[in-house]
């Protein structure tokens, strides 16, 4: 029963999704909103701004380093959570 309801809902959502996908900028074209001034600065300026050849690394650990700090925290959180779930701990 719940399986049928879920399938029905997903089909409904799917139809709307097709309409939404048709409105999105075309995949793979070089002049979508995504390839704008933001991406340009990362591609052209990363080497002089951060000194790293790999632009992904320069974004991850320099331009958006704060995100990566929090990402490391996510990992830390999950480790502490696993401890809390599985271990008895010492007194």
């Amino acid at each position: 029963m719940s399986r049928n309801i879920a399938a029905f809902l997903l089909v409904c959502i799917g139809v709307v999704m097709f309409l939404a996908i048709a409105e999105l900028p075309l995949y793979g074209s070089p002049d979508t909103p995504v390839q704008n001034y933001v991406a340009e600065r990362y591609i052209d300026g990363a080497l002089s701004d951060t000194g790293a050849l790999n632009m992904v690394a320069s974004i991850v650990i320099d331009y958006r380093a704060y995100d990566t700090l929090i990402e490391t925290t996510v990992l830390f959180t999950s480790i502490i959570a696993v401890f809390l779930v599985l271990k008895k701990g010492i007194n």
Binding site: G28, N54, V56, A57
Partner: protein
């Protein structure tokens, strides 16, 4: 490679992803399901390579295999069969 070939390969691999995702629902043996998850990650890593994201490819492959390892470790304790 020309963009058309890349598109073609992309579609094949993406179709493969969908097949794996559906297969997970029908496999009764959990070990197979976990291995399918590993295959999912590796296929995805191939797609990242085709979409020129090597960083993501290496991370996805490593993370996927790591998760499959942990999952198999859990399955080894809880049993393989899905009722």
């Amino acid at each position: 490679m020309s963009p058309q070939i890349i598109d073609f390969l992309n579609i094949i691999f993406l179709g493969f992803l969908v097949v794996i995702a559906i297969a997970v629902s029908y496999v009764r043996d959990l070990l197979y399901a976990a291995i399918l998850l590993g295959a999912y990650s590796v296929t995805m890593a191939l797609i990242w390579l085709l979409m020129s994201a090597p960083d993501l490819a290496i991370t996805e492959a490593a993370a996927g295999i790591g998760m499959t390892t942990l999952m198999i470790a859990v399955i080894s304790k809880t049993g393989r069969e899905e009722e």
